[in-house]
């Protein structure tokens, strides 16, 4: 039986920069994924700030919760790598702060630590699941595409490598991530279509980018299972 592994990540940097939108984004994605078949408390992991905020999802009231620090992220990816088989599926969602140094994008982890796209891609390279989706909402998120792209991955980024992302007008959600999850909630199961609809619905003049060299974005079984 194919399993769906989900990691929801918000490093938040520190207490000054732990915004409500990050919690709301992860909660909304968690509620959606928790209702999919083949997702349980062991395969649904939430990493947020220092790990203290509680998460209770609609379909999984007791997900695995940890800190959004470097160790938490590495541990979660290693855990998926150890458990996931080629027939399994993997989804990673980041609602977070991001940046870029020397053309190398990064995500901010808790305690002001950066995880660079190349290191992130290396950790994800140990995950053997043949269908993987990555959804990034942070600034400069398009910079994750080149290090991460391969034929088993569909990558949705809220902006280009040198661009910024925005929250919704009410600051309750990240704009791009909200449009993505809305389309998932509305029943869309192809990530390529989710991306196109999210891009069209984006109200913040962002520049979302998609990478789907292997056509994984057109394979609904990534979410629905075989």
């Amino acid at each position: 039986m194919s399993k769906l592994f989900v990691v929801l990540f918000a490093g938040c940097i520190d207490s000054y920069h732990t915004l409500a939108q990050y919690y709301n984004d992860l909660k909304r994605f968690g509620d959606f994924f928790s209702m999919l078949p083949d997702v349980d408390s062991n395969s649904l992991t939430v990493l947020h700030s220092d790990g203290s905020p509680p998460f209770i999802f609609t379909g999984v009231p007791n997900p695995t919760v940890g800190a959004g620090n470097m160790a938490g992220l590495q541990g979660a990816l290693q855990s998926v790598a150890a458990s996931a088989k080629t027939a399994d599926r993997f989804v990673f969602v980041a609602s977070n702060h991001g940046g870029i140094d020397n053309s190398l994008a990064y995500l901010w982890c808790w305690n002001s630590i950066k995880v660079y796209a190349t290191d992130f891609a290396k950790a994800c390279g140990a995950i053997s699941a043949q269908r993987q989706a990555y959804v990034f909402g942070q600034c400069n998120s398009g910079g994750f595409i080149t290090p991460l792209a391969n034929s088993s991955r569909v990558i949705l980024a809220g902006c280009g490598p040198n661009d910024v992302t925005y929250p919704t007008d009410d600051n309750n959600y990240d704009e791009f991530l909200l449009r993505v999850v809305e389309n998932l909630e509305n029943g869309e199961r192809h990530f390529a279509n989710v991306f196109a609809a999210a891009k069209a619905a984006d109200t913040q003049k962002e520049s979302p980018e998609l990478s789907d060299p292997g056509g994984i974005g057109s394979d609904a079984s990534l979410l629905t299972g075989p």
């Binding site: 940097i13 520190d14 207490s15 000054y16 920069h17 140094d101 002001s112 910024v164 929250p167």
Partner: protein, 346 residues
């Protein structure tokens, strides 16, 4: 001779060459703007009967607006500031090298004096005296297109990026330069000379029907100044921001769509006290009493363009551009400063 500071205005490609090869490069003066100057060097070459004369120029004065305009090559301009003594110690190992301050002379003086051949490369017309130039010269009996002279990176005091480089790009350029082997700790800042442009705008406003009082001359202000209060410093920053936005509007051809957001960092500054950001400390470029944080794109998620604006006891403003906000670890409150731009449509 011991030189305190020598500045070389060039462009980013020359700087990358310098940092990568750890050399300074003397070139043929034939292409120089001032044909009087290059003519004297040609005469020198002929009279010395050498095949090659190469030169490199520095200024011995502080940063000036016209240096950037004339030598800085627009937004890609850079100013490399050298420890003069260390630089000269290194380059004087090169055989055949001469170095000397340029002498600026009036035509009337030349009518009454004779010029020694050896002086020819170091004479310029009086009109150029503001350059206060220091020149390296090398002659050779063989033909050479250029001469690279090895220097240690430790003789570089700091590097200043053009005041016209877009702040959003300056961090990328700094990162690129820092990534060159051995350059990780080089001091690199973006010029705040743009403040002088703002000063000119103040002057333009002073011609309006209700002229503002003339600014107090700097020397007098230094003698009588009392440290600005928080409110005065906030006012200085808002004025700086007004003019900054006017400059942006002129540079970008349209007014920024949203107002920046200004915060005062509730932190006692003592001279060069650093501000702790999520990426590490930021030092005021000049001693400062008050620090402010300007978020140029307050709607956006981090990271994005922001500025740390420092106000000194003389109410002078110095600015460090960044893309990261202050850190919670600093335990410094960010006090919002009310700001709306003076004139949205310029």
């Amino acid at each position: 001779m011991s030189k305190k500071t020598l500045r070389r205005y060039s462009d980013i490609t020359s700087l990358i060459y310098l940092l990568t090869t750890r050399t300074i490069t003397l070139l043929d003066p034939a292409t120089w703007d001032d044909s009087n100057d290059s003519h004297y060097l040609t005469l020198y070459k002929e009279r010395k009967k050498v095949q090659t004369v190469l030169a490199l120029c520095f200024t011995q004065t502080s940063e000036r607006y016209h240096y950037w305009r004339v030598f800085g090559n627009g937004a890609s301009g850079v100013c490399t500031q050298f420890y003069g003594a260390a630089l000269l110690k290194a380059v004087r190992k090169q055989s055949g090298l001469k170095d000397k301050s340029v002498e600026y002379v009036e035509l009337s003086d030349l009518r009454t004096r004779s010029i020694a051949t050896d002086d020819l490369p170091f004479l310029k017309r009086y009109a150029f005296r503001d350059e206060d130039e220091f020149r390296l010269l090398c002659e050779s009996a063989t033909k050479m297109a250029k001469l690279d002279i090895p220097i240690p990176l430790s003789c570089i005091q700091r590097i200043t990026l053009s005041p016209w480089i877009h702040p959003a790009l300056s961090k990328c350029i700094k990162d690129t330069l820092h990534s060159i082997e051995g350059c990780g700790k080089l001091k690199i800042t973006r010029s705040t000379l743009i403040g002088n442009e703002e000063w000119k705008l103040f002057g333009e406003e002073a011609t309006s029907p209700s002229p503002a009082p003339l600014p107090v001359p700097q020397l007098e202000k230094q003698q009588t100044a009392t440290p600005p209060t928080i409110a005065e410093a906030a006012s200085v920053v808002c004025d700086w921001l007004d003019n900054h936005l006017q400059m942006r509007t002129m540079a970008e051809g349209q007014s920024p769509q949203i107002d920046p957001r200004v915060y005062r960092l509730d932190q006692e500054l003592g001279g060069d006290t650093p501000i702790l950001t999520i990426e590490g400390p930021i030092l005021p470029p000049t001693p400062a009493r008050h620090a402010f944080f300007v978020d140029h794109n307050p709607r956006a998620n981090w990271e994005h363009w922001c500025s740390y604006v420092f106000v000194g006891d003389d109410k002078g403003v110095s600015v460090v551009d960044s893309t990261v906000p202050p850190s919670a670890a600093a335990k410094v409150a960010l006090i919002p400063v009310p700001y709306s731009r003076a004139s949205p449509e310029v």
